[in-house]
Symmetry: C2
Amino acid sequence: MKKKTVNAMEVARLAKVSQSTVSRVFTPGSNVSEKTKKRVLEIAKELGYRPNALARGLIMNKTNIVGLAMRDIANPFYHEVLGKFTKGLRKRGYHVLFMYTENDEIQQEEITQFLEYSVEGVIVTDAYLSSKVVSQLHENNIPVVLFNRYSKDVPCYSVSCDNYAAAQQIAEYLYEQGYRNMAFISGRINTSTSQDRQRGFCDALQQKGLVPIIEEGDYTYERAYEATMTLLRREQKPDAIFGANDITALGALDAAKSMGLSVPGDLGIVGFDNIQMASWPSHELTTWEQPVDEMIEWAIDTLLNEMKRTNVEPASKLVSGRLIERRTTRKKM
Amino acid sequence: MKKKTVNAMEVARLAKVSQSTVSRVFTPGSNVSEKTKKRVLEIAKELGYRPNALARGLIMNKTNIVGLAMRDIANPFYHEVLGKFTKGLRKRGYHVLFMYTENDEIQQEEITQFLEYSVEGVIVTDAYLSSKVVSQLHENNIPVVLFNRYSKDVPCYSVSCDNYAAAQQIAEYLYEQGYRNMAFISGRINTSTSQDRQRGFCDALQQKGLVPIIEEGDYTYERAYEATMTLLRREQKPDAIFGANDITALGALDAAKSMGLSVPGDLGIVGFDNIQMASWPSHELTTWEQPVDEMIEWAIDTLLNEMKRTNVEPASKLVSGRLIERRTTRKKM
DNA sequence: CTGAAAGCGCTTACAG
DNA sequence: CTGAAAGCGCTTACAG
């Protein structure tokens, strides 16, 4: 009993109109008399007819699909981001073809999939694109926006926090609270995000005649925990740690606690992202809040705007955010 | 400079073959001579031609798209699940149309979207489907599998942990460790998952002549924190808490700590899911590990199998999992 | 092994 | 306001 899916022709037959008319009924703004419209809608409902979005996409050259690629990483921040993108796009009538990628850089193969499915735009979070891939996308008139990343070499839209400036402010904040011996635990070092946070932090401290200790991390809790242990075993222990993201800071926090240090007394800790967990009573993490909603709105609007044009002129957007003071840093008296 | 996307016809012209032949070159298993194949492939590459998956889907009645609907909730467990589904499906040549839903029950509208995009199957995680929606799906020969939920009334595939049995074992484990005054903090009470965990827990304790205190939660940290505070302010405090998921247990853990209680001495705590965070040194949460990989494999295999047939005979699968003993429960001497 | 033709389910000038 | 027809980019019998 292979059931044929009901199509416009069938509805047309029963409603005694042409298939064109059925199509018009389902095309907002088309010219159809109220009477016919009502009859067609009735029959359609009876038959369970729904226009086929793929066929429509084929003829209109408009699929209403956006490709979203995300790096495979256990960071709640990106889970939140994914949710907001999905909901924001849906509100505007778009759907998400989702791709999880295992590499730092989106692979050719993954973009090919997007192209085959005629996505109208691509959003990439927490990963890079080679310029080769970007130009392939551009040749097909498909705009891309990088979320939380940017690249100087590759011409495409990007939105991220002004990590450099934020890190500077974090350095100054820590300095003001009296910390003098600071350390930075990085994220994956090939990410612009981590690099900028590190540069901003170091540059601001240099102004004060200070040089932070740098320990390499990779945005994970486990690595940050280890890095902190290393830091705390040094002769000259740091009195404050800035972690490249909240997960890193939480790793540092737990490592400090396990060493019997008091936070923020012995050690101040600052994160970045302001994920939900940061506000949990057991953490109360001081951190930097990224204006995620604003970033996502900008990313979506930019993408949708570009989809309507044909030539693409990349731009970057930097947003600022703000420091959220909680209890892992001491307060200046 | 609106660039027309290159199609099979164009490749055919340059390769001096028919469009059918071009199509065959891109259809594995088709009859094409090596020589023609090579030439066509060359031209195709030059032109950047890729077959249009949507057109192919239209004619073959096979889109290779699966709809995945997930409830909007900040639980890392489901982030992990999403990643594994996406990767598992991709490995088998399928793509994910992703939908975030705000309601406990998937809405008609959301399923309609899936239908319009001709998904071949639907996966629903952390949410329900009304029987009306399910039968609509079945009429269209689209199989559904519920992940981590099941429903007695609605005939569709489902896979979940044997929550009842697991909760029984947890109760017995706590009993063996000497706890006698137990409490359960539930998840959203209209979920089968939470109901079964509660029933299993209560039933097993009843066998021992015990009745646990029940406090309502909703799977969130914040709610669990409050619930625990309520529990710990009782005259007769519980000496162990079983949380409906890990996030709940972590909320309980932090609440206990904030009250100055020692865990597991004064209070034992057990969660459910074994999310990554459960193993963090600051938590070391005793919990139940669901065999997520197995569940996902089963869900995918079942879905893909059903997609090949036309009649759908729903079945449920229960998997077991195992207790992970960590440091939020005391060890029997 | 290859080509001409029909058809998947739709939209949209064009003509009336 | 409505219908007949062409066409979106593909696959697949059918015939050779």
